[in-house]
Point group: C2
Chain length 517, copies 2
């Protein structure tokens, strides 16, 4: 399909050259300035030797230069590698090495970390400092590069050309580089716009991390819809509230944790949120109480939940505002969006009846091309008929609403019954002595798998395994209750703060193969 993500910049220039495109601190840039800067920075990248499809990394907090870079890299013909800002230096080095990133753009915040990457990432040729402070030794200045470069013509990357390699995971294995095409990303964003959740020419808040597919897609919708992007370097509840009020933001995307932080922040009440028309939440499960409270606090904002994953470039389902009034539908992730077909399938990829829990599988132009240099993982990611296995366990109701229950790998199949770890964890967490817990599958000769709980107790609190199991028995069905409980002082967590259940499971499964749907 003859579409590339840079086309939008020419359209903006054709229709709205004087419109403010980015607001970053005191700096406001109009469309024509951004277009000129993108074409120049692309010229600079070409001078630095960036070849077609060559990866250019970005390791930075949110900024206007981040948005420029996201456009300039494909404009120059390169492919993006936006780095997870929550990762440690070794994890970042792993991803840079893995996909052979030669050029890395960094901001003030990450310049020190980036300087240290040279030893562990031998292929790294150029570090570009896109910050406001002095350019560190051995780095090139983004602004200086841009100032001396000639603007170049768009490389017109499009269709199945590689847009970028987007690293995902950590909780279920080594990070994998997801290959996302121009058309896949574009059609995902256009589908979201077609759902009516990004008002045309609105003021858009950008406080979610720009490396993340959720914000990338949301931000690209904003470009297609001729929005003004109000950029915060990172999420900070009080600053977000102040920015919404000051700039009269009309649309915002948050992950559920951010919504919770906004609700908890006492300062937020002081600010005027009446400009908010559309509030999108995405990227992780949300507590119903949070959604209800958001509706109560900001009744004029239309709420939309989006479920997706990097492998879907990233949009899968949309739960519309109207469905939020229904307490049952509100707990779902909504229905498949225009570009994608979804099914609930068993381990063989066969569609299951409505109401039965299986894996969400997906087909459509937004499905990834595969994992970078991981043919086995790529093969395993698709069913025989070519549907993407999302790894998410869910059921679908009679109206196509998808209810997500667990990651497939975290589901426990015991005596033929599916147990969702989250449900057991919720039951355990209601015990006053439990600080953290994780429920995992361990091998059982009798049941195939058994429910095992790993628990961290609150300081100076005591409870034993039998008491915890009894506590669960009062709340959930017997077969769901932990068969065994283990106490620890801490749980292993990923850079993104997710509990690493694979590490908890590993010793139990040594020498055995766990069959996962």
């Amino acid at each position: 399909m003859e579409i590339g993500i840079t086309q939008v910049l020419r359209q903006l220039l054709q229709m709205h050259p004087q419109r403010i495109l980015t607001v970053c601190g005191e700096r406001r840039r109009r469309v024509h300035e951004v277009a000129d800067r993108v074409a120049r920075f692309a010229g600079a990248l070409r001078q630095l030797g960036v070849m077609p499809d060559e990866r250019v990394g970005i390791l930075a907090l949110n900024s206007d230069r981040y948005i420029e870079s996201l456009l300039a890299v494909p404009w120059a013909g390169g492919a993006l590698n936006p780095c997870n800002v929550r990762w440690t230096a070794p994890e970042i080095a792993y991803s840079l090495n893995d996909c052979d990133t030669r050029v890395l753009i960094v901001d003030d915040h990450f310049a020190p970390l980036a300087a240290g990457l040279r030893d562990t990432v031998p292929g790294l040729r150029h570090l570009i400092h896109a910050g406001d402070g002095a350019t560190p030794q051995g780095m090139r200045s983004y602004e200086a590069l841009l100032a001396q470069a000639q603007p170049v013509a768009d490389a017109l990357r499009k269709g199945s050309d590689l847009l970028g390699i987007f690293y995902t995971g950590g909780t279920t294995g080594f990070p994998k580089g997801v290959l996302v095409s121009h058309e896949g990303f574009w059609v995902s964003a256009l589908s979201l716009i077609a759902e009516g959740v990004i008002p045309r020419q609105s003021v858009m808040l950008r406080s979610a991390p720009m490396f993340h597919m959720a914000d990338l897609a949301y931000g690209y919708c904003g470009l297609l819809q001729q929005c003004t992007h109000v950029i915060l370097p990172a999420f900070h509840a009080a600053r977000v509230a102040a920015a919404i009020a000051a700039e009269r933001a009309e649309v915002a995307l948050f992950v559920p944790t951010m919504l919770q932080l906004l609700l908890n922040e006492p300062d937020v009440e002081r600010f005027d949120f009446s400009s908010l028309k559309s509030l999108i939440y995405a990227a992780s499960p949300v507590a119903d109480a949070t959604v209800v409270e958001v509706m109560r606090r900001w009744p004029r904002a239309r709420l939309t939940q989006v479920y997706g994953q990097t492998e879907l470039s990233p949009v899968g389902t949309v739960l519309h505002h109207e469905s939020h009034a229904d307490p049952v539908l509100r707990r779902s992730a909504g229905c498949a969006t225009h570009c994608v077909e979804l099914r609930i399938a068993d381990a063989e990829g066969t569609e299951l009846p409505r109401g039965q829990v299986g894996e969400i599988v997906a087909r459509g132009p937004n499905v990834m091309q595969g994992y970078w240099n991981k043919p086995d993982a790529t093969a395993a990611a698709f069913t025989r008929e070519g549907w993407l296995r999302t790894g998410d366990g869910a059921y679908m109701d009679e109206t196509g609403h998808v209810f997500i229950v667990d990651r497939i790998k975290d589901m426990i199949v015991t005596g033929g019954e599916n147990v969702f770890s989250g449900e057991v964890e919720n039951a355990l967490a209601t015990h006053p002595a439990v600080a953290m817990c994780a429920v995992i599958a361990i091998p059982s000769d009798e049941w195939g798998e058994a429910v095992h709980a790993v628990v961290v107790l609150r300081p100076s609190m005591a409870v034993d395994a039998a008491q915890l199991i009894e506590h669960c028995r009062e709340r959930i069905a017997g077969y769901k209750c932990p068969h065994s409980v283990e106490f620890r002082t801490a749980l292993p967590v990923s850079g993104a703060g997710k509990i690493l259940k694979r590490d908890l499971r590993a010793p139990f499964w040594e020498g055995r193969e766990r069959r996962v749907a």
Copy 2:
């Protein structure tokens, strides 16, 4: 791009199996019935030997079976050839022969004409009668075929696979079969939805002819947006008004002539149009007075103009409701939609400055793949850089709004000045004696081309050439006024009622080559 137009039927079935999809006279069909009928009719088409990409024609007024056929043909793997219902039998035979259509679906209205096609279209193997009356001798009954056939699985045609061959033209030469792909048509419709003009789950009036790309795209938007389609066999002002009121239609598409007929119909005032939220007009230039009157009469309906052509699958620009308040912008066709990039170019395809008249050229995934079996016409349809030449003359303002002035072939270049035939015709038409007129370019040794008018006078009215030229001189610049005037009793017109200027020009240009931008 892995998207085919039949995917929407599975999505509808997943989410809204019980929703009323089509309303056709007394007949109302739910999504699950239509899905079953489509899969069965596709099975019947396969039994009849329809092979991948093989053309299946449809020659019928609007009906629910027309919509089913539009889905069943690609579901079976075939390609569509929806025939222009205004064409004469020889024109239809030409198009069926040209693209080797083996199966033709006809309704009661066109059965007699179709029966006569057998002699002139030797390749025609099967005539399928999709009507309510008795099946004529030698034809197969659509309902009987469907009843005996097993439902088949979707052939999953997608991406650059051929959706159909859509015949266009007649006014500027032999009809040409436009090759439209699945992804091109799909992305054109999705772009229109992203413009916000098709409310989700609305009641949609289908009174424009379904063979026409304008209604095809509009109707497909309705499928993607889960609408109910209220179908009239053809446009009829009083019946349209009655249907809008009775079914509480919320969205409608009309060509400007239909809007004018609605405004002129005295009966229309009796009906309640308050349900109309979105009124789209497309497919030909509109008089400003018509638009103003529509806004006055139906102030609650949001007006949208769409400009396109079959070669754009078909969407090019969109003029939003908001812009209709501006008397200047209102005369434009709006701005490029998401999927397409537009430019105003000179004869060599080089972009012209804003305000200068040239040809609209287009690039994007919705651009046709070419003309069926016409490599020369296909080559001529694209610029050196691969942009589609639309054949429409226009200028673009500083905000990207496209103002269409004339078909490029109808523009007259005299002494280096562009004269738009429509402007001269408008001046001539204000003379009380003029019934019809056409202004064309004829060769001039002095000026390159000269402005020549062909005029039909009203019965028992008299005026001479000098008087008409003087009449124009009072209204438009001297160089635009006809250099010569010729009187006739009638003008040659196409099946669609357009004046065939090429026939008027031909004798003047015999033995000479006319250089057209």
